[in-house]
Symmetry: C2
Amino acid sequence: MTATKLAASDIVEHAIDRFTLSACTDAAPATSLEEFQQWWDERHRSTTFEVSEIPFDELRDWHFDPDTGNLAHDSGRFFTVEGLNVHVPGTTDWSQPIIFQPEIGILGILVKEFDGVLHFLMQAKIEPGNVNLLQLSPTVQATRSNYTRVHHGASTRYLEYFVEPGRGRVLVDVLQSEQGAWFWHKRNRNMVVEVTEDVPEYDDFRWLTLRQLHKFMRTDNFMNMDARTVLACTPLARPTGIGVVEPCPPFLDALLRSYDAPDTGAPSRHTHFEILSWFNECKSRCDMTFRLVPFNSVVHWTRTGRELVDDDRQRFRVIAVRVGSANREVGSWTQPLLAPRGEGLAAFLARPIDGVLHLLVQARPEPGLLDMVEMAPTLQFPLADGTVAERAPRDTPFLTDVLNAEPSRVHFDALLSEEGGRFYHAQTRYQIIEVGDEFPVDVPPDFRWMTVGQLMHLLSHGHYLNVEARSLLGCVHSLL
Amino acid sequence: MTATKLAASDIVEHAIDRFTLSACTDAAPATSLEEFQQWWDERHRSTTFEVSEIPFDELRDWHFDPDTGNLAHDSGRFFTVEGLNVHVPGTTDWSQPIIFQPEIGILGILVKEFDGVLHFLMQAKIEPGNVNLLQLSPTVQATRSNYTRVHHGASTRYLEYFVEPGRGRVLVDVLQSEQGAWFWHKRNRNMVVEVTEDVPEYDDFRWLTLRQLHKFMRTDNFMNMDARTVLACTPLARPTGIGVVEPCPPFLDALLRSYDAPDTGAPSRHTHFEILSWFNECKSRCDMTFRLVPFNSVVHWTRTGRELVDDDRQRFRVIAVRVGSANREVGSWTQPLLAPRGEGLAAFLARPIDGVLHLLVQARPEPGLLDMVEMAPTLQFPLADGTVAERAPRDTPFLTDVLNAEPSRVHFDALLSEEGGRFYHAQTRYQIIEVGDEFPVDVPPDFRWMTVGQLMHLLSHGHYLNVEARSLLGCVHSLL
């Protein structure tokens, strides 16, 4: 282990080369697929865990503030459920409940080289909101309240590598937003830290290669949202080990060319600078005003003994649950969760332009985003009661291209869970859909075609890609 | 004029080379210093302009909302004066009035090449809050309300180059924050657009070189804040025309080396990636919560017939003024202004490290900043009643290094105005102070030594340098 960092250029190139190597090798992972399956089954068996919906008055250590109607923890930490008001000039304001969690938590993956291949230390972690409870998660997933021990639980394993300087080499470190529809200004610190020292492999943790992780993205409800966003922030060079055996299918060939860094190598429809300029233009056009308000001032929502719910019963509910578990920080607890209805949809249309695959990116305002507008998938339809086909407005751009796509052109299709620590059974269908030369290159003002390399480059800064776009970028890697 | 943009790499390199050329040449500006002086004097003479403080009830088209106590324009546009609440765990909340202006305006400078040298079209512009009324300003300085004509005034000259695609080549385009102590989440779009077509030079406008502009930075209350921030966002390559005649003074030599892009050329104390990682760490540590609240809930502040004022009369006042003018969009108007007390201070300590000048940058939380923490000068002391020496806490880091600096080491010292459209007589003393090898390289956790090149590189994105740091970076260029 070295106590000092490499030069940034070294780190990044170094990391990229080795991430690529890791992504492209099928040889000798530290944990074979069979071993992994056996371990995963054991994790399931060793888990005694129950989640049950309870009335609000059975919440322990949580209360509704009598003045504001906000739902808060008695310690003043963790998060609150408050109100959000949306003002668009010339229209009637609307409002909804929203989760306010001002702390910046850590989503961290520890990496280490075994036999020349970088491995990622992943955790089998239970979250009360997951439909299947157990999902594959980052090494560390800790709110500040977690790691400053507000709830007096056990300490978080491996946390020291992410909070103590010099314990490893920081390869990825970026603050990224989370769901702007449900969170007010929520961000987490996405980190990858490399160690060379021996690290214990506790029962809930296994070392996996990036290639294994990318393949796991294709399994429904398996890689949790936090793992997906950290992996998305991990830069990859254009892979060199794939597609060299002729004939390389045209889609894969175009995809490989899409990994070049912006303004180098393969041509892109727009330059990096043009993308930034377009994005500023989109932000400037957005004249919505979003405000945090007391829940009491939210209209068309009601608090019953068991839920905060919209009068039309079409959006989401805020509920309370009791959670009993053997392997969480605290033996049993109660907490609020946000329970959406139905299933969300997030899809990238992907089109080769001059032989380079481009993804169709949307500049999309979301009321809870700190910077209001971020880059989103081509089509991002929120969770709502009923199917997207039933509920999406007919004039939603690219709706029919996504809903009526030929199955042979749907390169990725999986149902993945959103953060199970805050959301109850929130699942989104993620899709990557190829469109051909007949598809127009000119797109509406809020859209731009971008390469994978351009998107990865932006991910060294926050405020660019929203969490759905980051998840989908991770899914793109699984196509290699 | 070309309707399409160059490739980004072309633009930036192209721009940098020509900005450098422009910065370093004293030859043949389109407007000589004599011509400029004559024009400026004329501008003064042709101006009939009066600003007088009035009671709130003489404000036309503005009102205090009876429910919230907020001060607002009757149209619902422009800006409001509301309340800000600051919560720090374990301490008593405090609050203050704050200006909320959700629109993103444009601060734009038009550039054009004359005789091989880029020239910047600058405006002689009057703002009611300026101590001397008239200051040198960008070509365009327009809120969205301005250019969507909410106040039915004359159209903004040259605006079309900044809002109509293809009217010029966009060289700089970035959203940047403004005073986090007085503005809630305020940002403006800083733009530089190059034209090749003939452009009329109206009475209030003159073409000036970058070198002329940098030199003008040294004059008290001359370059307005908006011009300073746009110029700061304009990238400069390491100048090649300066210091080639031996002997180059050591400070200038170290300064020239400081202009290299990050992780190339001359060594820097930290890599670009290390700076980003440190900055995320500083943001994660910040556990303050800032909320916009109704003015009625602000404590220890009072509204009289003429001002909103803190009970101790030490911070600032919100007042109303009547403005009469011949050459503004509207003949005469009334508006609120925020009137600070005393004089602010913003200073960079600058130290050669391995022969490269580094500026000591502070990660500084400010309650009104969208991202809460931005990079600030080494010492940034707000405007307050009395002098900094009298009022700053004794344990303010680097206070005595700034206040007791030897005059020979103060390379820059000027009193510059903050935004005169919102602030009344707000002046800040900007200083760049050299420290020598005896000065420690190791600094407290909220501080980092950074090169000029590193700071310029970060300025292609928002949320990094606060407006005071950007102003000071512009002052650094004046040392060349």
